[in-house]
Symmetry: C2
Subunit: 470 residues, 2 copies
Amino acid sequence: MNQLQQLADRIISRVNVNLDEFGFDTEPFVTHALDHEKMLKFYAFYGITSHHPIYFHFKNSNIAGSYFLGKCYVGRSAIYKSDIRGDELKRKGDKIRSTKEIPLVEDEMITIRDSLLYKTLVHSNSHNPESPEEFGIRNTISSHYANIHGSTLEGCFLGPFATVDLMNLHSCIVGDFSYIQVGELFHRKIEPGTIWIRNQHFEFKFKYDTTALDYFVGVNDAFQPRGIMYDFVKNREADYERLFEVMNLEPVEAPFTSAVNRYAVIQGDTHIGENVLVAQRAFLENAEMGEGSNAQENTYIINSRLADMCITAHGGKIIHADVGQGCFVGFNAFLNGKETARIQLGEGCIIMPHTIMDPEEPIHIAGDHLIWGLIRTQADVKTHAISLDDLAEVRDSLTIGKMTFNGKGSVFIETFKNRLQNILLLNGALYNNGEKRGHAQDDQNISFNIIQPYRTGELEGLYPSIRIKP
Amino acid sequence: MNQLQQLADRIISRVNVNLDEFGFDTEPFVTHALDHEKMLKFYAFYGITSHHPIYFHFKNSNIAGSYFLGKCYVGRSAIYKSDIRGDELKRKGDKIRSTKEIPLVEDEMITIRDSLLYKTLVHSNSHNPESPEEFGIRNTISSHYANIHGSTLEGCFLGPFATVDLMNLHSCIVGDFSYIQVGELFHRKIEPGTIWIRNQHFEFKFKYDTTALDYFVGVNDAFQPRGIMYDFVKNREADYERLFEVMNLEPVEAPFTSAVNRYAVIQGDTHIGENVLVAQRAFLENAEMGEGSNAQENTYIINSRLADMCITAHGGKIIHADVGQGCFVGFNAFLNGKETARIQLGEGCIIMPHTIMDPEEPIHIAGDHLIWGLIRTQADVKTHAISLDDLAEVRDSLTIGKMTFNGKGSVFIETFKNRLQNILLLNGALYNNGEKRGHAQDDQNISFNIIQPYRTGELEGLYPSIRIKP
């Protein structure tokens, strides 16, 4: 048996042992996902800058088509067309908030072992105070367009378009298109389409109607995605090809305070403002990016205008929309406006992660609203939105449609807004005269090491061990 | 001072100390050669195959535009647009011929320390029995299109187009366009245009008239090359650009027993026969490559036909020529035929390294001749060639024109022919039904890791440390 097959088998058996209690078998997913021909075809790339600590080490792995930045270790894993973006890792001496303030004894590093990540984004820093120097992913499989955001994982399976945010998971299954941010989870199975945020102060919960969701995103028996959201991204895959074919692209016109990653697609009549970050694998077509706005990994901004200081979180899709100043469009949100059914968001709106808007008519959402769930008509807005002012009044609990909220609304809003402010700061949106540098300034001038596999022989498809240090 | 400048200064001082006795100052060469902008611009590449031991390690270096294959270590050096091709390194257990048969305790590795190699080719294995596991280059500067072939160097300077072959040099200066293969040399200065082969059995010596040579290749005060040979290569530099711009080139049509390196230029009506090797940075235009023939690094074959089993050694240039079966065209030979002054070589000719033919009229050389020096007319052939039959008769010494030979001609021919046979074998020219594999078979399917420098900051222009292992 060749080494690539051995690698796949090892991952299957490791993850299966962890998920045995659910009778869950990862074999169909792995067998279907790992196309050995494609794993030979695509190169991986590691970003070199003077602004990020450099350490990259991997062995016994295939990392076809993947992007790495910052400090990373990969062992006995398959990381296929994934983004492992370590530019927000904590650094030596940084203190983590916990019961005590613990300083890091060395730079944090992303470590991925015995895992399969498929078109997955790994980003930010670990929010697991038990391992502040290690953002660890182990014995885990994550599938198409999953987001592993500041979350350590052990023995888990993430379905397509699933997001785990600022968490710590052990032996869990997270269904497709679920977003969870609930601290720590052990031995849990999260049903598809669950949106769940919980901490000691509040809890937000919404679950999609399975039949309704299925039209947008669902999976077959091998956990391969289908639905119009998946079709949407799949139909645009070919537009990325040129980025990988050409070594030196003509740079996109942008202010010198902004970063447009060379692995982003920029098409049509697109304008980039000051302090803008356009991350790798972002897709902009006829897009206007206001000052300080960003388009993170796997985002699509098409025929749309973003005013200043807007955040498009990983996987967010904004089509035929006008987005007011200071809006947040969460992870994997799918704002699928049409030419005849445009979406208008007022200033300061918060589109919750994994929100779907698929309008049949023009939709207008007033400023300073929180939006969730599935919206197709203007009437749907009533049961899927609340003004931040009204939410701030909530002291105990609130139910609107299928959404339930428990806790103090004002604390929820404050926590959310603080996080958004921090995202803007980290992304360089607030850069001014050399102060408050962020990704938009530090992620310019990245040069990429390109890493290739053995093409023949016993090790065909595996990559040789590589270690890059300063 | 930035780190790149510190690197240059360290190399200058190290080499100057070694060449102090000659009053030789390398500063003008280094300062002129190291264009920091260009050292930022070009990436380096390391070849991955299943047929060669893999080990690549470097640190504190710039390796802009360089090609690496096999086992290599580079430290505190600038390797600019050079080819470090380690596919003929000895391997663990191989025995080297010396007074005793010594087996290697580990694979041989090319190690380059505190050196500047500029568009230099390093190839083959070290013929220094004192360090069989290390092909070492240290405190050394080599300039444009120098060939370091199986030669260890310490404290040396090689001028443009100089070749050191199967040697071991300490504190030597080798002038431009000199070819030497004389075993071991200490503290010697070799004048430009010296062709010198010597071992315990024979000696071959020829020296170009400096004024005549100057038209073809010479240097200025900073040891930068000039002359029509340099112009010839410089005028074709732009043709290589596309190779570096595009990631996946459409493959050149060639039999599956042949290797055409993806960093070779193939133009016009070019045909590749069976068992042919076309190495990186070879340049073929309207070229016909007969079965088992090869075009090694930095060779140019233009409007020419090579019959079967021809060898074009590193840097050989064949223009408007018909080359008979089994011919050898040595290192940096410049066969500059014209449309109206074509060069015809009969079968089995040996064009000595660094031979120049620049005909004003058609030139015909009968089969089985040895050719050297500068030939412009048919009449010149008389004083720059000898039939191998006549040479085989020489028992003691021979002088023809400015060439002197001492020793037994038959031993010289036998030694040469054995070496040519070995070159054909190593290059895969004799491959048949899975037997006698060589570079033409093993150097297919190379995938390349692409290695880039820091683009900004204190380390601007340096490459991060990298180590690649199986």
